[in-house]
């Protein structure tokens, strides 16, 4: 059985009000944008591997969201699930159109590390580089699970809502991904 989604992240009444208002008020859309920008940007950064493409695609995601918001219906899913689906489609089209797979822009990712400690450094830089390369080689859905789980901190239930899968399916997919990464990591060491 699926766990209920924690309140405050998905069924936030304040957000629901904001969404209704944003359908006709651009300023309210601006507030929604500020709430979700960093999450969508992080997702796109890890999917594309660099800031320039992440910026372009983030812009496309929010433009699409802005244009299509009047048609948005609350189906009990978090608003972010809708944005992630747009982001997923945008990035899938980007890969299809460009036919490219870029290596993760590791330097920039390291420079922006949360702890801000450049000295956690050479050794961890190599570790990050290797791990990000492994993640980037995963199939799309596995990448999504790993990014949503670790970079965004979502639970299996929340990832399930975003991907349109059951919590159990996400749990199993996550476990398989973890084992795959672990095995690949051991062969690189």
């Amino acid at each position: 059985m699926e766990k209920p989604i924690p309140k405050g992240r998905s069924q936030d009444p304040d957000e629901e009000r904001l969404i209704r208002q944003a359908k006709y008020d651009p300023q309210a859309f601006g507030d929604l944008y500020e709430r979700h920008l960093r999450k969508i940007y992080t997702y796109l950064f890890y999917r594309t591997g660099n800031h320039a493409d992440a910026e372009d695609l983030t812009s496309k995601v929010f433009q699409k969201a802005y244009v299509h918001l009047p048609g948005y219906e609350n189906l009990g899913l978090p608003f972010s699930a809708w944005l992630y689906r747009i982001a997923h489609n945008v990035v899938a089209n980007w890969y299809r159109d460009q036919g490219r797979r870029k290596v993760v822009g590791l330097d920039e990712a390291i420079n922006r590390s949360a702890d801000g400690d450049p000295g956690s450094s050479a050794e961890s830089a190599a570790e990050r580089e290797a791990l990000l390369k492994l993640i980037h080689r995963l199939p799309e859905e596995k990448q999504q699970v790993i990014i949503l789980k670790f970079a965004e901190g979502y639970s299996n239930a929340e990832i399930g809502k975003i991907l349109g899968r059951s919590e159990g399916a996400v749990k199993s997919l996550y476990h398989r991904t973890l084992l795959q990464l672990r095995d690949q990591w051991e062969t690189t060491e």
Binding site: P26, G30, T42, T58, S59, V67, P70, L131, L178
Partner: protein, 103 residues
């Protein structure tokens, strides 16, 4: 030996939230809010109208090229006939041509 747990903690260390570059958030917000939202239906209608216009222009262009080619062909035909007649006249061949020569 890497355990699943150590792999998880490695992922947690590496996959950190990423902030956009400085100034990007504000620039994109201004750009979004400056954009006049067109209702989806209207947008579809406009797109259909654009497609219709482009199709008309395309068909028009094809028709023009065809007409020019036809006229060009006619002119070339006339010029060719003229040249033959002129050549024949210079050689003193009567206008009735080969038949007249063999007769």
């Amino acid at each position: 030996m890497t355990t699943e747990r150590s792999m998880e903690s490695r992922l947690r260390r590496v996959l950190i939230p990423i902030a956009p570059r400085k100034g990007y958030a504000a620039i994109l917000k201004r750009k979004l809010l400056a954009h006049t939202r067109m209702p989806v239906e209207l947008e579809k209608t406009t797109r259909s109208a654009e497609i219709a216009t482009l199709t008309t222009l395309g068909l028009g262009a094809v028709a023009t090229v065809a007409a020019v080619a036809t006229i060009g062909g006619m002119i070339a035909g006339l010029a060719g006939s003229g040249a033959l007649l002129l050549g024949a006249a210079k050689r003193g061949v009567p206008r009735s041509g080969v038949k007249a020569q063999t007769a």
